[in-house]
Every structure is written in C-alpha cells, then in structure tokens.
C-alpha cells in the first residue's frame, strides 16, 4: 500500500533519514520504532510531505506521492496526526473536525462551512471516540489527552485509506492509552491501514503486525514484533553496547 524506497532527508551535514526503505501493507498495522533521534518523525514528515525529502521515493497505491503537496496527499487518502497535537485553537472541536472534511473544486469552496451532513458525520466520529460531549467546546480548552482524541477524530473525517499516527500514546494516561489502543484496533479491523510511530513498547507489541526499527536514519530490522524483539541489532541500538560491556 505505502512503499518508501531509499528515503533520505539531510539537514546540512546531519543525515536524519539516510536511505530508509520499508512497506506498510494494506489492512495491517505497521509500527515504526527506534531510539530518540532515529529519524522516525522526520521520515513521517517526508512521507506526508510536511517536509520535502532530499531524495528517495514514496509510493501510495501504485502512485508516486513524494512530489505532491501535503493537501494533495491527504486527498489521496493518507492522513496524519502530529506528535505534539496541533489543533486549531479558537475553533470549536466540531469546527476543528469538519475543517478536515474533503472539499471538491471551486464550487466546494463557497459551500456552507458546516453543512448538516458533515456535522452529523463529525458527531458520529466523536460518538465513536466517546467524546461527543466535547463537540462545542473550544479547541484550546481541551486537555492533552482530549486533544489527541480530537486529532484522531479530525483524521477520520477525511476518509483516509491509510493513517499515520505520530506517537498517539505520548503523554497520555494508562486508561486513555487502553482506549486509544481499542480505537486503533477497531479502525484497523474496519480495513484501515495504520502506520504508527511510538515509544510505548507495550502498545507496539500488542497492536502491530509488523515492526520496522530505525536507528541513525536507517532501517536496522523489519519483521513481526516477536522477531524484532529478539533481534541483536535492535537490542544494540536501544541499549547502546551495554550488552557487550556486561
């Protein structure tokens, strides 16, 4: 579904992503993990084109997307969340979500901002996520975890085929974490392809069908979670030679 080939992103002399290649298969949950500074988020940014990659190719459903602008990628069915939840303050939760509904052509621009069918859809999503009571709250008043859920809701509004989640569990409490895991699983069962960047190993091991491990901008391991967990290169990357010293 999503194929990344030889992706590179250099910041001056720093090679944040250095020839990274992996595939996220349709209908599966793929996790991208690695120690801090491994280039996971940068890779994410290059895939969603929030940053322009230095070189490499990104393919979605047989079409190359690395030269498209972010909104075009979203229109092609790839939506993302941000590590630090970026929501639109001063707009209500409902507006934040409806904002993400696809717009078609010139005539779409002048349509009413909050058409009833989209509001109904947004309310349905909020219901699914269990935060419908927040619908009319100002986006700025939400707690950190609620913002994560709102991001999630906005993501679903654009009818994506594949979603990229950047640390969906970062800084959320354990009970919300369970909730988020449940949501991701349910969406995946409904046929949505998921690519996650995450530090929470518990979540990764429970959810993902496949784990891609990055270190220093490169993919060092790729396979089912049980296998990756035993991989010496992965242990080395995480524990940084502590094993040899012992």
């Amino acid at each position: 579904m999503l194929t990344v080939t030889n992706l590179c992103k250099h910041f001056g002399g720093i090679r944040a992503v250095d020839g990274c290649s992996f595939t996220a298969e349709a209908g599966k949950i793929t996790a991208l993990i690695g120690p801090n500074g491994a280039g996971k988020t940068t890779a994410f940014n290059c895939i969603s084109r929030t940053m322009a990659p230095t070189s490499g190719e990104v393919w979605l459903d047989g079409g190359r997307i690395d030269h498209l602008r972010p909104h075009e990628i979203t229109a092609k069915g790839l939506s993302r969340t941000f590590q630090i939840s970026r929501n639109l303050a001063d707009m209500t939760v409902l507006e934040n979500i409806v904002c993400q509904a696809p717009i078609r052509g010139w005539r779409g621009l002048m349509k009413p901002a909050m058409p009833p069918e989209e509001v109904a859809k947004a309310e349905g999503i909020l219901e699914f996520l269990g935060i419908s009571r927040l619908a009319h709250e100002d986006g700025a008043n939400l707690s950190y975890g609620q913002k994560k859920l709102m991001d999630f809701a906005a993501l679903l509004m654009s009818d994506p085929k594949i979603i990229l989640l950047d640390e969906p569990a970062g800084g959320v409490n354990p009970s919300l974490l369970e909730e988020i895991i449940g949501h991701i699983r349910k969406l995946n069962e409904a046929g949505l392809t998921v690519l996650i960047v995450e530090h929470n190993m518990d979540l990764i091991m429970r959810l993902s069908h496949r784990v891609v491990v990055m270190a220093q901008g490169q993919v060092i391991a790729d396979g089912p979670p049980e296998m990756v967990r035993e991989d010496p290169a992965v242990l080395d990357a995480y524990l940084g030679g502590a094993l040899e010293a012992a």
């Binding site: 929030t50 979203t74 970026r86 929501n87 639109l88 717009i103 901002a113």
Partner: protein, 344 residues
C-alpha cells in the same frame, strides 16, 4: 441513590452542552444591519430640506469608503491572519485604472468600480503568489516594500501624470446633490462588502482561512490547499479595496500618488480592524466608524493640529489594553456582545 446522582450530573452536562451549542449558533438580529442600511439609504433626503447636509453626507461616505477597505482587508488580515500594510496599493490601482478611463473616455467610475476591483484582484493574485510565501513580520515588511515600489512607479510614470497626478472632471450637478451619487456608491459598496465577508466567513473557504491563521502546517495536512486559499484571499481583499479606490478618485476629482499611496491609508485599514476586532464581521465597521468619528472630533476640538494622530495612538493603546481582541472580538469572547452587533 447512586443512579439519581448520575442523572443529575448528566442533566447538568446536557444543559452545559446546550448552552455551548447556543453560543455557537446565536440567533442574529438581522434586522439591525438592514435597518442601518435603510436609514443610510434614506439619508440624502435631508437635502430636500432648506439647509445643506453635505458635511454629514461626506462623513458617512468617508466612513463607508473605509468600511469597504477595512472589511476587504479583513479577508486577508482578519480571516487568514496575514497582516498587510500595503493594501493602499490596490486602492491606488483601482483609483488609477478607473480614473484614467474616466478622464479619457468619460465613463463614470461608479460603473467602472467592479472592473477596477477585478484589475486590483488580478494584481493582488500575482503579488500574493510571491509575497505569501513568508508570514509574520517578513510578510508585513514585504507589504511595506510593495507600497514603496508602487509609489516610485506612480511618481515617475508620465502616462498617469507622475507625481502631479491627473485632475478629473467634476460631476455636473448642483452643489447640494453633487455628493449623492458617490454617497450611494460607497454605501452600497460597503453593504456588499460586509455581506460578502459574512458569506466568506461562513463558507468552506472561510473555515479554511481560519485554519490557516491558526496553524498553517496543520491546515495543509488537513487537506486545505493553503497556497491557493491565501492567494485567493489576497485577491479578494484587493478586489474590495480596488473598488473603493476607483470611486474615491472621481469623488476627489483628482488622482495623485500622495492621495492613494500614503501609509496613513493602509494603516487606517489595519487600525480599524484591530480596534473593532479583526476576523469579525462587525469589527471593521465599528472600527471605521470610531476612528473616523474620533479624528473628526479631534479636528473639531483642536482645529487643524496633528493632535488627532497622537490621540489616535493613545486610543489604540488603551483599546488594546482593555479589548485585546478588538471591541467586537473581546465582547464576544466574554459573552457580552449586544445581539445587534453580532453579525458573525
């Protein structure tokens, strides 16, 4: 007992939500702006009485011209959050385009105004394509540079009279009625502009612009073509400012760079929006009324001094201390906005 407690909580929550929803969709007092418009449209009937009300007409006309410009500016500065200090360039483009055609072929600028607006919009689209790549202070500086470029251009362009400008034929009406055509032109333009900004704010386009003003990267990844949206917003705001410029030239019977291309004009647009509340519909209108009235009062009390400039700065500072979001914006935030001023 426990379930009873729960139902009380649920009930409280339901009420709270209902209140929030009500706040989101407050019924508007539509009659008020319409009544104001009706009064303004009937105002020239005063000229049928024995005395002369040209001064009143001039003040309303002047305010209306600023309502057009400030509301136009609001599309880019208020909705999309790009503060332009160079919008008088479009005022000049509209004024010169219509003024030159009027001078040469005698077509009234009131008829030409929409066309002049379109010309300004096209120029705005092209300029926006270049300058909207940057935001924040860089954008403000680029807009100031734009004014300087156009000032030099118009000062030295002989075809449009250079710095001396071109004088336009005055309208052939008795003094008492000479202002009336322009009066109607500006009042109608102001009404159209305010209505247009209302429609824009409530469209997908407006929602997208609001998203852009908050977080452009998020907006882009939400599927909004930010580059197109903001350039279009630039063109639209240029359209309205250009339209105002077109008629303004004929009203003054003169087009000259130092009428249009002085920083005061563009600063006034910005001040009006900030004072009234940028990003709101009624804000630029209230701002225009207050600033014009305030300047006029200063002139009445202190004569032809420059105290009004000093005082304007003082009022701005005070207003921003007590109304940081502008008068309309701050009142709406605290829920104390009178119904009749809720045009959003």
């Amino acid at each position: 007992m426990a379930s009873m407690d729960q139902s009380a909580v649920l009930e409280a929550r339901r009420l709270y939500n209902a209140r929030l929803a009500l706040k989101a969709d407050k019924t508007r007092a539509v009659w008020f702006p319409i009544a104001v418009l009706a009064v303004l449209l009937a105002l020239p009937l005063l000229q049928l009485t024995s005395s002369n009300y040209n001064y009143v007409l001039h003040l309303v006309l002047y305010t209306a011209s600023y309502v057009v410009m400030a509301s136009g500016w609001n599309i880019l500065g208020g909705f999309a959050g790009y503060i332009s200090l160079g919008h008088n360039v479009f005022f000049a483009i509209g004024g010169y385009f219509a003024g030159m055609i009027y001078a040469r072929y005698g077509v009234s600028t009131i008829i030409l105004a929409p066309l002049a607006g379109l010309v300004a919009a096209v120029v705005g689209y092209v300029i926006g394509r270049i300058t909207l790549k940057v935001r924040g202070p860089s954008f403000i500086i680029s807009s100031l540079a734009l004014v300087m470029i156009f000032r030099i251009l118009f000062d030295n362009w002989d075809f449009v009279g250079g710095a001396a400008g071109v004088s336009l034929p005055a309208i052939d009406l008795p003094v008492k009625w000479a202002k009336v055509p322009y009066y109607y032109a500006f009042v109608v333009m102001a009404a159209v502009t305010v209505y247009a900004t209302y429609r824009i704010k409530h469209s997908k386009f407006g929602l997208g612009l609001r998203a852009i003003s908050k977080d452009e990267i998020k907006a882009e990844s939400a599927g909004i073509d930010t580059r197109f949206y903001k350039t279009l917003a630039f063109a639209m705001s240029a359209f309205f400012v250009g339209m105002a410029g077109a008629v303004w030239g004929e009203y003054l019977t003169y087009i000259r760079p130092n009428i249009f291309l002085i920083i005061l004009v563009s600063v006034n647009m910005v001040l009006m929006c900030i004072l009234g509340g940028k990003g709101t519909i009624a804000g630029p209108v209230i701002g225009a009324i207050l600033i014009v009235a305030f300047n006029e009062a200063c002139v009445i009390f202190f004569g032809g001094s420059e105290i009004n400039i000093l005082a304007t700065g003082l009022v701005m500072a005070l207003a921003l201390m007590f109304f940081p979001l502008g008068i309309i914006g701050s009142l709406a935030r605290s829920g104390r906005l009178p119904r009749i001023l809720n045009w959003d």
